[in-house]
Symmetry: C2
């Protein structure tokens, strides 16, 4: 779970990032940042829209999507595709990593590349494919949930 979008200490990072990329720090952006940070695990655009409307009535639908896009491009949020094919978003650290998504509670854990690089290199060697990007999503039960239902 990320802390990069938390209000307080974490917000500094967001502000710095927006600033560095020449984006303004606006009310709606802060509001969306707080809503995203408040969410445990992944959420759909629809859920966030409901949140946004409750937290700050009058915030535009387009603005929420735009902000989500912006945060995605800054790496604070990532789009994931659930096993069912639905789209969702998760707050995360702006460094390369992957998500392990709990199918029970919905929370996501960031995991690093533990050896995946080698796997991709092996694939490239075998197939002549020159790998430039990849996406790995992992689904299962987080430690808390698998303890609960063994």
């Amino acid at each position: 779970m990320s802390t990069y979008l938390d209000t307080g200490r974490g917000a500094n990072r967001l502000v710095a990032s927006l600033d560095a990329a020449g984006h303004r720090l606006t009310g709606p952006r802060l509001a969306v940042a707080e809503l995203v940070a408040a969410r445990e695990g992944h959420f759909t655009a629809a859920e966030l829209l409901v949140d946004a409307d409750r937290a700050q009535p009058g915030i535009g639908r387009a603005t929420v999507f735009r902000t989500l896009d912006l945060f995605t491009s800054l790496g604070f949020v990532e789009r994931v595709d659930l096993p069912g094919g639905d789209h969702a978003y998760v707050a995360c650290d702006p460094v390369h990593h992957h998500h392990a998504i709990c199918t029970s509670c919905g929370r996501s854990t960031d995991v690093d590349d533990v050896g995946l690089g080698n796997v991709l290199a092996a694939i490239g060697r075998r197939s002549g494919f020159s790998v430039t990007a990849h996406r790995l999503e992992i689904f299962g039960l987080c430690s808390a949930c698998s303890a609960e239902r063994p």
Copy 2:
């Protein structure tokens, strides 16, 4: 690239699969199967709809989607998510594997699990996560395209 949906020899497999699962072999299904097999690499639903309308005018939009769903559940087709976030489909073998998608020509190559199992096991061990499913998509240049533009 798969041969499972090819007409001729490959169609046997499709027929057998439909039959085994208690599905009928109908005209529209064969037509869609041929269109999918004729496509090199991934394609969007929209593209297939255009194809379908050209190949067999009168074929219903819903039928194409239904057939795509059916083939997906049989494993002959898989949904992939392009880097841009768009959905696409690819014809493929009905065994567990991953796709390496060429960002230049769009063709996809099936790759097997070369060591990914170990990676997932390592992730599980580290994080206490009990992995039940995963999705790996690889993007880059296929051998032909990377030879062309070095």
